[in-house]
Symmetry: C2
Subunit: 472 residues, 2 copies
């Protein structure tokens, strides 16, 4: 602890193409490969190393997060950070692979939370005591029947609670047997593809749109067709022109991802007509439909589905937290048997303990209360963030007006690369995604996507806006 074992490492190179966090990452990996650092060795805290190297703490944290995520180092809280004791240095000999994807935004998942990090609810405001109490109770209650294989499609208790919640909150009438519990949106989408599509099928996706949707469909040998989004949402007429024989459309009607606009009623009806007449499927990705600040949340598109053409994908990642890995799919009654068969073939169900905690959380009313509280809190945090960003960065960007969602779209006034700025922010410990990375081909002005739900005060928002100003 007195001397830094990282001091003998090759110095960082400010002129290098690689950002500092990446240089730190490479040097630590290199030191392990050459046995300069050995399994179990202690390394300095991110704070200490940042001071020593004269870098922002966030830069070192980003490097450490990556090293931890890949298993090279182990953070042990107050006991400090060490090289993973079980690491075999021989595994590292040879060129250091570049596992950091170029589109950092889509895959980079640091171990510690960065300001503006996308996809996260207000983790500081989660009712952790209630959660701990329910967790302890459910862990104590395990018994043979709940230790055996859980039903592949989800526990009866959780499916019942979800059906009841959807009816009250999202206007969706469905029975518990139509609900399929999954490990996340990706599994829900995969399940749909396995049940309903065949290789080569064209699928409309929104442009700009959530990149993992495109990626997953592509990996499954399907053909995602990007359809432009305007102020009313996905342009259905254009979709019919671009891919008239598409099998399905993946849409985000509540708050278009990432532009946060709502799909207009005429467009909703046009989509439903298309699906009913041509046997198409609509996949409604309702990832944060609860969070609308200008009025009551809109009913889900699924609530208008008279002919059983809409598959509704919900998730607990945003309304509870992503570490849960719990989501669900509502399937039209006529397709339930087919989805049951696919679930049995491909999946063994979600962990009983996690399902039991969430079912109890909903049943006892904590869920509804939490959403109400978060709706107020997010409206407030959104105000903080918008006020600071507009006051401090008025010359450089403007903030899109949006009715809801959990992130802001910051339009850059100058024609500069949003990717380069997002990368610079990440190097400096601030998270942002570039709208360009969410767009299939040009057409959109440069913009940053930043989450506001973890900005806990106007002072924090001011500080962060000043940090961005320094980087522009």
């Amino acid at each position: 602890m007195t001397t830094s074992p990282l001091r003998p490492l090759p110095p960082l190179d400010p002129a290098a193409a690689e950002p500092f966090y990446r240089q730190i990452y490479d040097r630590v990996r290199g030191a392990i490969a050459h046995a300069v650092l050995k399994p179990g060795d202690r390394i300095p805290s991110a704070r200490a190393l940042a001071v020593e190297l004269g870098l922002a703490r966030g830069t070192v944290e980003a490097a450490y997060a990556l090293l931890a995520a890949e298993g090279y180092i182990l953070a042990r809280g107050q006991a400090g950070t060490i090289i993973s004791p079980e690491l075999d240095p021989r595994a590292l000999v040879g060129p250091v692979p570049h596992r950091v994807p170029t589109q950092v935004a889509q895959s980079f998942r640091p171990d510690s939370i960065l300001p503006f990090q996308m996809g996260l609810p207000a983790l500081d405001a989660f009712p952790r005591k209630i959660w701990a109490r329910l967790g302890a109770r459910c862990a104590r209650a395990i018994q043979p029947a709940t230790m055996a294989h859980p039903p592949a499609s989800g526990s009866s208790a959780l499916r019942t609670e979800i059906a009841s919640y959807l009816r009250l909150s999202r206007g969706i009438a469905c029975s518990p047997s139509q609900i399929f519990v999954t490990s996340g949106y990706r599994q829900s989408l995969q399940l749909i593809a396995q049940a309903l599509f065949k290789a080569g099928d064209a699928i409309w996706v929104e442009n700009p749109g959530f990149p993992p949707t495109r990626d997953l469909l592509g990996h499954m040998d399907l053909k995602p067709v990007p359809i432009p989004v305007d102020a009313d949402g996905i342009d259905v007429a254009e979709a019919l022109r671009l891919a008239p024989h598409a099998r399905a459309a993946v849409v985000t009607p509540a708050h278009q991802s990432p532009l946060c606009l709502s799909l207009s009623l005429p467009r909703r009806m046009a989509l439903l007509d298309w699906a009913s007449q041509g046997g198409g499927w609509i996949i409604e990705d309702d990832y944060d439909g609860e969070y609308r600040y200008v009025s009551r949340p809109l009913p889900a598109l699924k609530s208008l589905d008279r002919d059983g053409r809409v598959l509704y994908a919900g998730t607990f990642s945003k309304v509870l937290f992503p570490g849960l890995r719990l989501a669900y799919l509502v399937v039209p009654e006529a397709e339930v048997e087919r989805f049951d068969a696919i679930m049995h073939a491909f999946a063994g169900g979600s962990p009983e303990l996690v399902q039991a905690i969430v079912a109890a959380f909903i049943k006892e009313g904590h869920f509804a209360r939490h959403i109400q509280r978060m709706r107020k809190l997010y409206a407030e945090r959104r105000r903080f963030a918008v006020a600071s960003l507009e006051a401090i960065l008025a010359d450089h960007l403007r903030v899109d007006a949006q009715p809801g969602g959990m992130h802001l779209v910051l339009r850059l006034r100058e024609r500069r690369s949003d990717r380069a700025l997002a990368a610079r922010m990440l190097e400096n410990g601030l998270y942002a995604e570039a709208l360009s990375d969410w767009t299939v081909s040009g057409g959109h002005d440069p913009a940053l996507l930043v989450n506001f739900t973890n900005i806990d005060s106007r002072a924090t928002a001011d500080r962060l806006a000043h940090e961005i100003l320094r980087l522009i």
Copy 2:
């Protein structure tokens, strides 16, 4: 509680083709559809209804388990069983779908544990207090960093513990970065297929063999080729004759599933040679390699893998319990990047809470102790079961000698249908699977597969053997 609301239902028909449990299931569904039973209505306990109908309690329990699994009824422990309050009876109008698969064995997952139920460890002997303590501690310890998206390939702590365990117990040298945490064997197999195979690829599978392996490969447009198993395990020479250009082999070297024989060393070497020379892949499904009673567990086939051709699939379902939904895959170093990319595209990782509990359970030594205890207990329970079955059913069946595993193979002496007998046992509250359902085309003598790990005494074993005798 005084009168049975099920009494007005149509009476059961002993002459019908459908077994009694299925008739009960259909009648309850029908009563809900016709509003004879309404959401929230209380129904009699399985015990009371069995008395009333003059049936074995297990028969009614099987019907209730199915109804509960599909969300029609809700068991509330001492508060009794009710029609699910959230059920929409309109969803049931129309013909009652036949969702019970004809091959009951593969998909039927009752809510309560049946005697002989396959795939289950000794649930009564699980250290539940330790589990509850760790569960409570981990639930209390959640914090923003662990509430965010977990690493898609598994938590660093758990991967480190698994790597260390595999080295000590299964002779496998690997780094934590080679370990991919999944939700079960099915997800592991799916991940392999997505990373390494293309549509139409032929894959050797064992015959007889675990039916879900065949099913899953078929669903993924791959071509499972059944290869006969003899006393040495999968017949590699025959495999080369039947499908010389196969891309991969799925094998169960420790205890062949379901015959429990070990893959001989010459066969292991033949498989490895084939894979190394032709670029084939070996998928080692090591579902219960720990449980061997005649000598120390054999090292895994993976421990002999010099050229990085073996993908090792391990699971916590058997050594802990299946409700966890936690398994893992060990991937050759050269393939790690490819699997990382596939994990990021398809999966969001396993729940942080469950991973944290299991990592702590291993790290604190409970895991190694539990396996040691179970190895002794299973050897004892196996003796009980074999002694009773051989004493009481000697005229009708003989028990295969096996070095390990968690189930017995009961060979029927007469040429009768193992499927019919297994179905009769299930109707009467006893679980069994028919070897015929694990065999692709004839050739095998009729046999039952029954799990012995939950048979807690010689007296229980005697009672169960007498019950089978009554049904033969």
